[in-house]
Symmetry: C2
Subunit: 284 residues, 2 copies
């Protein structure tokens, strides 16, 4: 039997509709949620991501600007821009698009963002709140995945979850969120031995490796829920996930496709956090 | 064959000797490492812990004071005491002994401690730095365990580690530290199913449950390294660990005893972090 396809696009659209209403309601109260994206240099992928964020924000009625800064901007100057927006009341969310040029210390920049305006959830204090189980702003990809699991009534408590990949923006926060919902969580990575065997113990398998079609059916327990975070391009330039969708969908109980899976949810949670931050300025 | 006993007491003594020399050298440069412990109310266990910390600090030449505060102190007054010591140049470490009385918000107090004076590693920003793999101050128990594994040349990279317990002060930071050293890490807890079976996959098993003799030989793979964080009392009031030492030591390759295992290391790492913080005021 073929798996249920978790439709991230449809869920993102549904959440966006609700967000649009919230934004309208906030505007009536005199507050327009504002998001500023700082884009340094001309990384091609970043340009695309930023354009998508801007477009989505506009669709929802969020006031959004992109400040484009030259690739040779100094760390001090970038810190000054962050400080400027920390103070600026019109912007409830500040997003510094990563990666930054090599001469700039990313951690230092992220640390400079007012945690209350951190919509990426990457500020160490927000990471720390997540680790102690009292989350505030969350990294958007794992946050979106939790929303998908919730929308599709996936049971998490007591289940075995395996996360493949230990990045700061997906793998590690993902593990913490699953743990908070009482899953038994295993974090695996490039140094893990018997990865397929371990993955096969998972009731919930999250693939965030960044290698196209890495997860074959040999990694998947029949009936597992499989979440594919990958955004890779095959030899023909086609967007593919970390999971070999066609064969895995035959044994999984649920699976996210690529595209129209995790991707649309990530950007939606970014908008949701911007709106949340704006709401808090009304009810601090 | 019986396991090697990991002698936490001997290792702690050895580290303490080195610390004592560091303290003496700092004093010659005009800086005496200072530690202030804020003790609210008269919790019996806390009294004992605090006395042990004070005693150890004095042995090492660390300037240490305990400020005893009444159980009915207000949150605001306690925050004022923290703020006072944040400013006070004589104290490089501030430790607020937990638990606090119920009318005080522990998180709020911990958040008020200057992260640079946080010697418990509980400040969310220090927790966040740990989660992103750039740790600063660390929770002392998992820090001490990593030192023990290092001292006994336990191979961690690529090994299977299982942590039983997901507290903020032991289980969760422990998992992050093992992950940083490239272990494949599983965090288990009260909602975990087949706990014994899972624990038996571990090359490194850390028991931090708080239930005397919970981990029997059925939880342990022959040849595993077993770390016992438990401090429980049996029906006769005798101090026992979470691990059934007598039977587990027959199959483990290495094991920590209770007492003289993890306990002495925890307090030593607290002193080490106090000294580190003092050093940094010299070389910021």
């Amino acid at each position: 039997m073929s798996a249920t396809i978790i439709d991230g696009k449809a869920l993102a659209d549904q959440l966006s509709m609700a967000l649009k209403k919230e934004v309208a309601a906030l505007k009536e109260k005199g507050t327009t949620p504002g998001l500023v994206v700082l884009l340094v240099g001309d990384n091609q992928a970043s340009q695309v991501y930023v354009r998508n964020k801007e477009k989505r924000a506009q669709e929802l009625g969020i006031h959004s600007i992109v400040e484009r800064l030259p690739a040779d901007i100094s760390e001090t100057e970038l810190l000054e821009r962050v400080a400027f927006y920390n103070q600026h009341q019109e912007y409830h969310g500040i997003l510094v698009q990563l990666p930054l040029p090599k001469h700039i210390n990313e951690e230092k920049i992220i640390l400079a963002i007012d945690p209350k305006k951190d919509v990426d959830g990457f500020h160490p204090i927000n990471m720390g709140k997540l680790l102690i189980g009292k989350p505030d702003a969350l990294p958007c990809t794992p946050y979106g995945i939790m929303k998908m699991l919730e929308a599709y009534d996936v049971e998490i408590a007591g289940k075995q979850a395996v996360v493949i990949g230990r990045s700061n923006i997906v793998g590690k926060p993902m593990a913490q969120l699953l743990l908070m919902k009482d899953a038994t969580v295993t974090i695996t990575h490039s140094k893990t031995q018997n990865l397929a065997e371990l993955a096969k113990t998972a009731d919930i398998l999250v693939a965030a490796i960044g290698q196209g079609h890495f997860v074959t059916k040999d990694f998947v327990k029949p009936g597992a829920v499989v979440i594919d975070v990958g955004m890779n391009h095959d030899e023909n330039g086609k967007l593919i996930g970390d999971v070999k969708f066609d064969e895995v969908k035959e044994i999984a109980s649920m699976i996210t496709p690529v595209p129209r899976g995790v991707g649309p949810m990530t950007i939606t949670m970014l908008m949701a956090q911007t709106v949340d931050h704006a709401k808090r300025t009304l009810n601090p």
